[in-house]
């Protein structure tokens, strides 16, 4: 987290260490010959973190208007045009009010009936948003945004949450004032015993149970269990347990009332050409990063692709070619890159699509 003010001093120090090799032995005497001084250039390349006190924040600025451009070209496909989407990730925007901005606590965090917890509902330090966008966004091309773009997108997100006005330009000079408008800036506590050091919080655990041994509780009451119709929501549990030993997995492909005694389910294998093999390929080649089975992610869902081309006589060859070569325009502006898989593999996925996502 060097910032520019530190750079000159560091430059002097590092220059000394690099030029005078023997000096380094004096610095780490126990293990001579191991490790070397980092150069200023190296540290600058990797030291990108920004702390809540804005140490490490590069100088710069970006406007809400610019942020909207960046957002719509690079962010909206996953996060939604208004940052509200939960299709790919948890929503970023929503759930905060002007009252929250005044008080610094998000009221809806205390409302169990409010369904989601968005990023802006939790965000207590604006540095966090800046730091994370800079280091990890966009999803498939992290660290590709310029400093100006990161300021701009940060400003735009806060604008979507009504924290900043449309005309605002966020910069290293006004970010501390923006911090004072965050809806949940006062929403964090370190009053707990789960920090594994002595600098924060308390030492005494908050939950103090007692190990009673005999006639302990009132009669146990069953409060919660999975309903029968969710019995196989995690697949057939018979296939998720070892076939030998004290227990077997329950066959959840059948209702509990039809339960018969356990037997080992044979391990399933993906036969070549089967739906499972095609699905495995969509995993292997990360198709599923952009295509959901039923839901649109970055690209169309597999099921939409299947139904669009269902009537095409040459659907298998057409789809296989599309998978290999990529394309744009059929489903919108977002291009699909060419995929490096074999012809047979492309055919296998295409076949599965062309047959309407058959399940066998």
């Amino acid at each position: 987290m060097f910032n520019c003010r530190d750079l000159r001093l560091a430059l002097l120090l590092a220059a000394g260490a690099v030029q005078a090799q023997p000096l380094s032995y004096a610095v780490y005497p126990a293990y001579p010959g191991i490790g070397r001084a980092a150069t200023v250039k190296e540290v600058a390349a990797w030291d990108i973190d920004v702390r809540p006190d804005f140490k490490g924040l590069p100088q710069g600025a970006g406007s809400v208007a610019k942020g909207m451009q960046v957002w719509e070209s690079q962010c909206a496909s996953c996060h939604g045009v208004f940052g509200e989407s939960n299709e790919v990730f948890s929503p970023i925007v929503g759930g905060t009010t002007q009252g929250d901005i005044r008080g610094g606590r998000v009221a809806r965090l205390n409302d169990a009936s409010f369904p989601g917890r968005t990023t802006l509902m939790k965000l207590s330090s604006v540095s966090t948003l800046w730091d994370y966008i800079f280091r990890a966004m966009p999803w498939t091309q992290p660290k590709s945004l310029s400093v100006e773009e990161v300021y701009a997108v940060t400003a735009y997100i806060l604008n979507l949450g009504n924290v900043l006005p449309d005309s605002f330009t966020l910069s290293d000079r006004n970010i501390a004032e923006v911090q004072q408008r965050l809806p949940n800036r006062n929403g964090m506590s370190t009053e707990h015993a789960l920090w594994p050091g002595s600098g924060l919080g308390k030492r005494k655990p908050d939950v103090a149970a007692v190990a009673c041994m005999k006639d302990c509780a009132d009669e146990a009451t069953l409060a919660s269990f999975l309903p029968d119709f969710a019995r196989d929501a995690h697949g057939n549990l018979a296939e998720q347990n070892r076939g030998v030993g004290a227990q077997r997995g329950a066959n959840t492909s059948k209702p509990a009332s039809a339960l018969s005694a356990p037997a080992a389910a044979p391990p399933r294998q993906a036969a070549p050409g089967s739906a499972a093999a095609a699905l495995a390929l969509t995993q292997k080649y990360s198709c599923v990063a952009c295509h959901g089975i039923e839901n649109k992610l970055i690209g169309p869902s597999f099921s939409d692709v299947a139904s669009k081309h269902a009537s095409r006589a040459d659907a298998v060859d057409y789809l296989a070619a599309k998978i290999k070569a990529g394309g744009a325009g059929v489903w919108g502006a977002m291009p699909m890159p060419a995929q490096a898989l074999s012809e047979a593999e492309a055919q296998s996925i295409a076949q599965w699509l062309a047959e309407g996502l058959r399940t066998q």
């Binding site: 126990a30 293990y31 001084a37």
Partner: protein
């Protein structure tokens, strides 16, 4: 729905499973099921459950053991009388597979995703199959996975570790190490558990998943080999008076960052690790370098570790501000939570399994504490009314999984199986009632409540919660 709780069919010791349908669940379908499940639970009339007989280990009903291993009319088991091929032929040569693999009969034992939990497979989780594991070590290929932006297989000759300070005075010499250099330093090898802070997080409010793989499977345990981070910081010359916080940063797309307390580094426990269970780390576990932070939630064990920074304040990273913050009643979030408190779970018998018959059953499970060693584990089969102390299977190690087991004779009646761990600080694993009384039910993180498995008369085991 009540009817699902009392299965009147007597347990039968033999039978056949039909071929399973294709295991194909689309995310939309899963969301619907979960939504219905939540709805259903809301309507569920809380029914009193008459706890199974309290006479623990008392005279058992007649055993059904013979049914599983009968003597055929021919006078002997065909598996004994007719010598199998492997007793009569020539086996396979050495080094058939340069890196051996599990038996083909073990193919069901896999780490798995929980349907509907995440929308992408790169920022996601796979769960370790705890129900099928023995002892305390997790085979490296079954270690749970948590990636924030997908995993990589990084060329170790190109990987570097950098040390630097938050300002020019706090570290004398910012440094760079190659893997070769790190592996030349004196190493230590230690067994430790790693548990995701969100392990059992889906169960804070109510039962949401069927098996201990999904309820507790963001838990693994390995022998890790590496260099104490303190040695490296000493080499770089750290001003320990000011540098009370340490940032770890990954080299992957998310370049995950987490703050650690310097006290933990000074204890010598925090390792810069490259080894796992005798070999190098698996790529999914951060090959070639990761932090090992014993007792602290997995997100702090930064994978693909590229940089350590020392500073005088905590860093407020995304995974300590937006995620991995614990929502408390009243709407405050707890920030900088890390310690994994005392916890245990019975892994056999456990949810989604079926007991094979009445009679002897060895109840077995895992216990651990992020504050130290497991001192004692108690087991109840009547929903927590009466407890017996289980055997701890050695070795019992610091911030490491401990295997426990206890004898039980199942009489064929419904039973509520629980375990409760106590660590060497005296901390007792709480019940859901005790935990929720303090932390509510919306935290997501650090759920260390006592787990309950209902063994039904049919022998099928269900995940349940008591009140």
């Amino acid at each position: 729905m009540n009817s699902s709780m009392t299965i009147e069919m007597p347990y039968r010791a033999s039978g056949r499973l039909l071929k399973a349908p294709e295991n194909f669940i689309d995310p939309a379908g899963v969301r619907q099921v979960f939504a219905q499940a939540r709805q259903g639970r809301r309507d569920f009339i809380r029914s009193a459950f008459a706890a199974a007989g309290a006479a623990v280990g008392a005279a058992a009903a007649p055993l059904a053991l013979a049914a599983g291993n009968p003597v055929p009319p021919s006078g002997g088991d065909a598996n004994i009388l007719e010598l199998p091929e492997h007793s009569r032929g020539l086996g396979q040569p050495v080094a058939t597979d340069g890196y051996g693999r599990p038996s083909k009969y073990e193919a069901n034992v896999q780490r798995r995703r929980s349907p509907g939990l995440t929308q992408t497979a790169q920022s996601s989780v796979s769960f370790a199959p705890l129900q099928s594991l023995f002892g305390i070590v997790t085979p490296s290929g079954l270690h749970f996975e948590r990636h924030h932006q997908g995993w990589w297989d990084i060329d170790p000759s190109k990987h570097r570790l950098m040390l630097n300070g938050s300002d020019a005075e706090i570290m004398k010499t910012p440094m760079v190490f190659t893997m070769d250099e790190l592996m030349r330093l004196p190493s230590v090898s230690r067994f430790h558990f790693i548990e995701c802070g969100a392990n059992t997080g889906m169960e804070w409010g109510n039962v949401a998943v069927p098996t201990c793989q999904y309820s507790h499977g963001m838990l693994s345990c390995s022998e890790f080999t590496g260099v104490p981070l303190k040695i490296l910081l000493d080499m770089a010359g750290v001003d320990y008076k000011r540098a009370r916080y340490v940032l770890g940063e990954g080299a992957d797309g998310s370049s995950m960052t987490r703050t650690l307390p310097m006290e933990l580094v000074e204890s010598g426990e925090v390792l810069v690790a490259y080894g796992q269970n005798g070999e190098m780390l698996r790529p999914e576990q951060g090959y070639p370098l990761r932090l090992v932070v014993p007792g602290v939630q997995g997100v702090s064990w930064v994978k693909y570790l590229r940089r350590i920074e020392v500073g005088d304040r905590p860093y407020g990273s995304k995974d300590e501000t937006i995620h991995y913050v614990d929502l408390m009643p009243g709407g405050l979030h707890r920030q900088y939570t890390g310690t994994q408190e005392c916890k245990s779970v019975v892994t056999a018998p456990s949810g989604g399994q079926v007991l094979q018959g009445q009679g002897f059953c060895n109840i077995s499970g895992l216990a651990w504490s992020g504050r130290g060693k497991v001192k004692r584990v108690d087991v109840s089969v009547d929903g927590g009314r009466n407890w017996r102390t289980a055997r701890l299977q050695g070795p019992v190690m610091h911030k490491c999984l401990t295997r426990f087991n206890i004898d039980w004779v199942w009489d064929g009646k419904a039973a509520l199986v629980q375990s409760r761990a106590i660590d060497d600080t005296g901390h007792v694993q709480p019940s859901y009632k005790q935990l929720r009384a303090v932390r509510g039910s919306r935290s997501i993180y650090h759920n260390n409540a006592v787990q309950t498995w209902l063994v039904q008369e049919s022998g099928e085991v269900k995940n349940v919660q008591l009140s």
